[in-house]
């Protein structure tokens, strides 16, 4: 018997006796005999903890992680430092083995943390309210569009900048495919969305306008002007942000956003090959009854004591069923907790200093890399911690060579933007040192020098 089943043969006998069944098998009598599975599942035999640990170590050793090479990868997941306190709190099993706080009296810990998370997200973005979190940044964009459909009642176009994370755009196309609206991508050949193109594209049936800043190339968008163009025709302006950037950059509220969504990975969440992450969704007060997912609100108990509960549940699937604002059932509770602890640990000064270090190091890295002959900034636009270079030769081959030298040097922009096949998108966080940046620049220079090129590419 496995360590996770406690019934001894004596227990089983006593339990069956009480039930009035002759065997465990009899308990499955309602499954028609011919539908019973006749063999054992074809999966590998059981492993002890020692064997499992060894097996998993073997698998882990087949990976080259961001700690095995210096990480300049971004594209929606960034190598920010995670203070130890985040891991310590998140690994308390009173947090991670609890579930959705349906029984408020026995879940005040979870509920208060979510309420604090909602407040922190509002403070961070300047927006009025936040929900209890969504799956991750990508589907959060789609949930924001579903909100916009509900708010406007329109059936026209959803306009999204080509510079928004390509995967977020793919998700959006999937999500609205069977609904009454269409997605139009506004081209960004210069690495940013020209607000004039937005003003030209919108009309009084436009559902929403979506732009991301910093965008996928790392560059800053003219969010305020884009937002004004959207709001002028009564479309919902959806602002996609990077929470870490808000230590320095103007907030979604400053941009005039109606709904602001973002990927929360940078707030204390390890890479983990892409998840679990954290979808942050915030909006103006007037849209609160259109918000998807869980919301925690303050109230009082029978003794007048302040406390917290899940609230406005009539929006949700378990009450409203097919008329719900979303089908979402879970929030990312444990990861909202991580973000709350992380932001609290950093505080306003720590977040600002983190953002400043990102800016300084990224600009230093861009400068050093652009000193390499043939390398240049691809777009002449301001950036935060990520930027896109133009390289003189095949980016994919170069990346393989740089990896052999110990660098995850960046993302090949052309993988998502075939028109930018010469592009390399590089992310630099507060963790990168001068030595690592100089090392990368040196390695790029070495690999791009003519002699090596003919030998290796």
């Amino acid at each position: 018997m496995s360590e996770y089943v406690l019934n001894t043969p004596e227990d089983v006998a006593a339990m069956l006796d009480r039930i009035g069944a002759g065997s465990i098998d009899q308990l499955f009598a309602n499954i028609p005999a011919h539908l019973r599975f006749q063999r054992m599942l074809n999966i590998p035999p059981a492993l002890t903890e020692i064997e499992l640990t060894q097996h998993m170590q073997v698998l882990a050793n087949k990976n080259q992680s961001s700690t095995d090479a210096v990480c300049f990868l971004g594209g929606g997941a960034y190598d920010h430092f995670i203070p130890t306190v985040v891991d310590v709190i998140a690994s308390r099993s009173e947090n991670y083995t609890a579930y959705t706080p349906y029984q408020a009296e026995a879940s005040q810990g979870t509920l208060q943390v979510i309420y604090e998370y909602q407040t922190l997200m509002a403070q961070l973005t300047g927006m009025d309210v936040a929900n209890a979190s969504l799956y991750e940044g990508g589907s959060a964009v789609s949930e924001a569009v579903l909100m916009a459909l509900g708010i406007t009642g329109r059936t026209g176009e959803v306009l999204i900048a080509e510079s928004v994370h390509p995967e977020y755009r793919q998700i959006l196309v999937t999500y609205v495919r069977n609904l009454k609206c269409t997605v139009r991508t506004l081209p960004t050949p210069e690495g940013y969305l020209n607000p004039d193109d937005v003003a030209e594209a919108v009309n009084d049936s436009t559902v929403a306008v979506i732009a991301q800043s910093p965008n996928f190339f790392g560059h800053l968008e003219e969010m305020k002007t884009i937002g004004e163009a959207a709001r002028k025709v009564g479309a919902i302006f959806i602002d996609v942000f990077d929470p870490v950037s808000l230590g320095l950059l103007a907030t979604p509220a400053d941009h005039g956003a109606d709904i602001a969504v973002g990927e929360g990975q940078g707030l204390g969440i390890p890479f983990g090959f892409g998840g679990p992450y954290l979808g942050i969704l915030t909006c103006r007060n007037e849209y609160v009854r259109k918000i998807p997912g869980r919301l925690v609100g303050e109230t009082t108990d029978r003794n007048g004591q302040r406390c917290w509960v899940l609230t406005l549940q009539t929006r949700e699937q378990h009450i409203r069923r097919e008329k719900a604002t979303s089908n979402i059932c879970t929030n990312q509770g444990l990861f909202a907790l991580r973000a709350a602890v992380h932001l609290t640990a950093l505080g306003p000064v720590g977040l600002k200093e983190t953002a400043e270090l990102c800016v300084r190091k990224a600009h230093y890295a861009a400068e050093q890399l652009c000193k390499v002959p043939g390398v240049a900034m691809k777009f002449d636009r301001p950036f935060f911690k990520e930027f896109t270079l133009s390289l003189p030769r095949n980016v994919n081959n170069l990346l393989v060579q740089l990896r052999e030298q110990g660098y995850h040097a960046g993302l090949p922009t052309g993988r998502w933007y075939p028109d930018h096949a010469d592009g390399l998108t590089v992310a630099v966080t507060e963790k990168r040192t001068k030595q690592e940046i100089d090392g990368l620049a040196g390695a790029v220079k070495y690999r791009l020098s003519g002699v090596r090129d003919t030998v290796l590419s």
Binding site: N30, L35, G274
Partner: protein, 486 residues
């Protein structure tokens, strides 16, 4: 012990100048001002109003708050339909190996061969357990798995030129996510009645089934904890109409290695890896909702899928008929990862034993609880059962919720309450296989004791928690969803 130290709102503990994290000095040349790198119009005008907290206050705050939760590790948590089984600790340590935790989601395939091997195996295990050969691990939770499968169905019918199939049939006992997902996928939802025996009413199904039916979403075992004995007849009816059958896999914990959805006629299903394969529920999430489908639906699955070529694993994005993406990057890896560890720990015998003992424990608890409560549907049940507190309501004006609140006083988490809606005063118990007979007996004794307690004590319960019952009406009427400075 209710420790109230540092448990005010974190914002109320804030004091200017305190901090818990310091940053290193900038080691690159930094004589330039920030606004020389980023023009002023892009920069914030003011410092963010975030709290300023010292380290010990932060730790005490979040530690003492955590103690205000019931959790699997502290209390029996028989929350029906949620499969609150023990979460093995070994998974936590292994998940933290740098070779897994520090993998960036967009690394080159050559650098993530171990991760891809694991995910490829997971695809195969989930296919084998369901009897449905093609698996996508991408959906982030059960509800998103449902939605993804309905997108697949929509694409399938579009390709067949059968866009007139507008209807998705859903039993009245189904999870609320089913109709909500159907609406999001652009379908109209039609509700199918349950019969007095708690199973799908076949006549009602037949009367609503037609050439415009796209999908029947069925939960089996259903939310009453009953196996749909007519499942084969149901799936044959649907297939005869050219429609697809979707299995809501929330209750897979009852049938691992016992019967397979693909074998009883389901064409698509989702898994809740966080339930069946013990991903920690995290106070509400993350979940993980992979789907398995028949081979002719494989081409519609979200890309990428992990494929094996010789000894090498690769993410295959080249799926021209794919519905697209539903989530960024690959999926909820952390939960899939723990599910993999769990399946490998148990093996084929261990997995079957999970379902056998989950069903044994549920039937035992059902027998014990029925000593004092009505259990409206005939047994045996599967991994969970639904009792009703309507006798208490009739005789003592005590509601099912009062019973739940009183259970909290005795140190047990409450069952799921008022669901499914087809049973009045419903109490839905799912003990799971990881509980002992002693725990089940102790819980049953308390249930029976509560049935005989002073009604006023029950109506005012709980009495031993940090708060008494919250005013939910007030919370919804004038929502206060964030703290603001007084």
């Amino acid at each position: 012990m209710n420790n109230t130290q540092s448990t005010g709102l974190i914002f109320e503990l804030s004091k200017s100048g305190r901090r818990c994290h310091r940053l290193p000095k900038c080691d690159v040349p930094n004589s330039a001002r920030i606004d020389q790198m980023i023009p002023k119009e892009y920069l914030a005008k003011q410092v963010l109003p975030l709290p300023e907290i010292g380290e010990i206050d932060l730790i005490r705050h979040f530690t003492n708050l955590s103690a205000r939760n019931m959790s699997i590790d502290t209390n029996f948590y028989p929350l029906g339909s949620c499969t609150m089984k023990y979460n093995p600790k070994r998974h936590e340590r292994i998940a933290a190996f740098p070779g897994f935790a520090n993998l960036h989601p967009l690394q080159d395939d050559d650098t993530i061969q171990g991760m891809l091997e694991l995910l490829h195996s997971m695809q195969e295990y989930l296919a084998e357990i369901s009897g449905l050969p093609a698996v996508s691990l991408q959906p982030a939770a059960g509800a998103q798995g449902e939605l993804t499968a309905l997108f697949v169905a929509a694409a399938y019918f579009r390709d067949k030129g059968e866009t007139h199939r507008r209807k998705v049939l859903v039993p009245d006992s189904a999870h609320g996510t089913n109709p909500a997902s159907a609406a999001l996928a652009g379908f109209d939802t039609i509700t199918i009645k349950s019969g007095a025996n708690g199973l799908v009413d076949l006549d009602d199904l037949k009367s609503k089934l037609g050439a415009d039916t796209a999908v029947f979403m069925i939960t089996n075992p259903n939310t009453l904890g009953l196996f749909e004995t007519q499942i084969q007849e149901i799936t044959e009816l649907l297939h005869a109409q050219g429609a697809l059958v979707y299995l809501d896999g929330a209750n897979m914990n009852a049938i691992l290695g016992i019967t397979r959805p693909g074998d009883f006629g389901a064409d698509m299903q989702h898994y809740n890896v966080h339930k069946t394969f013990t991903g920690p529920h995290g106070g509400g999430g993350p979940g993980s909702g992979p789907i398995a489908v028949r081979d002719y639906l494989a081409k519609y699955l979200p890309a990428p899928i992990v494929v094996k070529e010789g000894d090498r694993f690769r993410l295959n994005y080249n799926m021209p008929q794919s519905i697209g993406r539903v989530r960024s990057f690959f999926g909820t890896i952390g939960i899939l990862f723990r599910g993999y560890c769990y399946i490998r720990t148990l093996g084929p015998d261990g997995l079957k034993q999970v379902s056998e003992h989950a069903v044994l424990n549920a039937n035992y608890l059902r027998a014990r609880v029925s000593e004092g409560y009505e259990v409206p549907h005939a047994g045996p049940c599967m991994h969970e059962f639904v009792a009703s507190a309507r006798k208490l309501l009739r005789e003592k004006k005590v509601r099912a919720m009062d019973v739940c609140k009183r259970l909290l006083d005795y140190g047990f988490h409450a069952p799921t309450v008022y669901f499914p809606m087809v049973v009045s005063e419903a109490l839905m118990f799912e003990p799971t296989e990881t509980e002992s007979k002693e725990t089940l007996d102790a819980f049953a004794e308390v249930m029976l004791k509560i049935a005989n307690e002073d009604p006023e004590v029950l109506r005012t319960a709980p009495h031993t928690h940090i708060i008494s019952r919250p005013d939910e009406v007030k919370a919804a009427k004038e929502p206060v969803l964030r703290w603001t400075k007084a």
